[in-house]
C-alpha cells in the first residue's frame, strides 16, 4: 500500500503514523486525517471549491426526490378528484 504522500509544505502537520492495515478494513483502522474541525473546513485553501461542489451535489440530490414526492402527491390528488367527479356523474346518470 502506498504510504501517505509527502508532507504538504504549506502546513506544519506532522506526518501521521499510518499503520498498514489489510485493504478491506482500511477505513476502520485509518485514524482521522484532520487535526481540527476548522482545518477540515478550510480544506487547505481549497475549501470554497470542495464545499461548493459537495453543497450543490447534496442540494440537488435532496431536491430531486422532494420534487418527485410533491409531483406524485399532486397527481394523486388530481386523479382522486377526477375519480370522484366521474363517480358522481355515473350516480347522477343512473338516478336520472
Amino acid at each position: 500500500m502506498q504510504l501517505a504522500s509527502t508532507l504538504n509544505p504549506a502546513q506544519d502537520i506532522q506526518p501521521l503514523p499510518l499503520s498498514l492495515p489489510i485493504p478491506h478494513s482500511s477505513f476502520l483502522t485509518d485514524p482521522m486525517y484532520w487535526n481540527s474541525f476548522s482545518e477540515f473546513l478550510a480544506m487547505g485553501t481549497h475549501g470554497i471549491y470542495v464545499w461548493g461542489s459537495v453543497g450543490v451535489m447534496v442540494l440537488l440530490m435532496v431536491l430531486e426526490p422532494v420534487l418527485l414526492v410533491r409531483g406524485q402527491k399532486s397527481l394523486v390528488a388530481r386523479l382522486k378528484r377526477q375519480f370522484r367527479a366521474e363517480k358522481t356523474d355515473r350516480s347522477t346518470q343512473s338516478r336520472r
Binding site: 502506498q2 485509518d30 481549497h46 461542489s53 430531486e64 406524485q72 375519480f83
Partner: protein
C-alpha cells in the same frame, strides 16, 4: 428464448410492478445513505492529502462517480428503450423516461464538480478536456431526449421516438468521444487533462467506489419513484389505478 423472456416480462406489467417498486424504494434509499456516508467519511475524513493537488483533489470523490453514473444511466436508458422498441413492453418505455432526468442531473453535477475541480488545479473554470467536452455533449443528448419525449403527446409514440433517439445516441457516444479526443490532442496537446488524476491510494479508490455505489442506489431509488408517478399518469384509466387510489380514499 424470446417467449420465455416475454412471459417473464408479462409478469412485470405496470399493475404488478407498482406495489413491488413501492416496497423496494425504502431499501434503496437506505443503501444509498449507508454507502454515501461511508464514502464521504473515507473520502473526506480518512483519505490523506495529495502531493500535487493538496486538498482540492477530494472533489474527485464526487466528480468521478457523477461522470460514471451519467454514462451508465444513458446506457441503461438505451437498454430499456431498445427493449421497449423490440418487444413493446409499456414498462420499459416508462423506465427509460424515468431514468433520463436523473441521468441529466448526474451529467450536470459531473460538469459542475469538474469545473470546481479545474479552477484550483488549472486556474480556469472550463477546460476543453476530451472527457469534460464529451460530458457536455452527453448533457445535450439527455436534454434532447427529454425535450423530444415531452413534445410528443401520445405516450406510446413518445416512448418509441425516444427509444430511437437513445439508441442512435448510444451508437454515437464513442464516435463523439473519439473525435473530441482527436480534436483535443490536435489543438492543445495533452498537457492539460483529467487523466493525470492522483495515483490511486487504496483509501482513495475505496472512497470513490463507495460514493459511486451510493449514487447508483440513489439513481435506482429516484428512478423507481419517478416510474411510479409515470405509471399512475399513463394508466389512470385502468381499474388498478382506481383501486390504488380508491383504497387510499377509503382509509382517510
Amino acid at each position: 428464448m424470446s417467449n420465455k423472456l416475454i412471459n417473464w416480462f408479462r409478469f412485470a406489467s405496470p399493475q404488478a410492478f407498482y406495489p413491488l417498486a413501492g416496497r423496494m424504494i425504502p431499501w434503496f434509499w437506505a443503501l444509498a445513505a449507508v454507502f454515501g456516508i461511508a464514502g464521504l467519511y473515507v473520502g473526506f475524513l480518512v483519505a490523506p492529502t495529495d502531493a500535487q493537488q493538496g486538498e482540492g483533489y477530494r472533489i474527485i470523490f464526487l466528480h468521478v462517480p457523477a461522470s460514471w453514473m451519467s454514462m451508465f444511466i444513458y446506457l441503461v436508458m438505451a437498454f430499456w428503450a431498445g427493449l421497449g422498441l423490440a418487444f413493446n413492453f409499456r414498462l420499459s418505455g416508462m423506465m427509460a423516461t424515468a431514468l433520463a432526468p436523473t441521468g441529466a442531473l448526474f451529467t450536470f453535477l459531473s460538469l459542475w464538480t469538474g469545473a470546481l475541480w479545474g479552477k484550483p488545479m488549472w486556474g480556469t473554470w472550463w477546460v476543453w478536456d476530451a472527457r469534460l467536452t464529451s460530458e457536455l455533449i452527453l448533457l445535450f443528448l439527455y436534454v434532447g431526449f427529454i425535450a423530444l419525449q415531452s413534445a410528443i403527446d401520445d405516450p406510446r409514440r413518445a416512448d418509441k421516438a425516444g427509444a430511437i433517439l437513445a439508441l442512435v445516441g448510444v451508437v454515437n457516444i464513442p464516435i463523439i468521444y473519439f473525435s473530441v479526443k482527436w480534436w483535443n490532442t490536435l489543438h492543445q496537446g495533452s498537457s492539460v487533462s483529467l487523466t493525470k488524476s492522483p495515483s490511486m491510494a487504496m483509501t482513495m479508490l475505496l472512497g470513490m467506489l463507495l460514493c459511486a455505489l451510493a449514487c447508483w442506489m440513489y439513481a435506482i431509488a429516484v428512478a423507481l419513484m419517478r416510474v411510479r408517478t409515470i405509471m399512475l399518469e399513463r394508466e389512470r384509466h385502468t381499474e388498478w389505478v382506481r383501486e390504488e387510489l380508491g383504497m387510499k380514499a377509503k382509509e382517510q
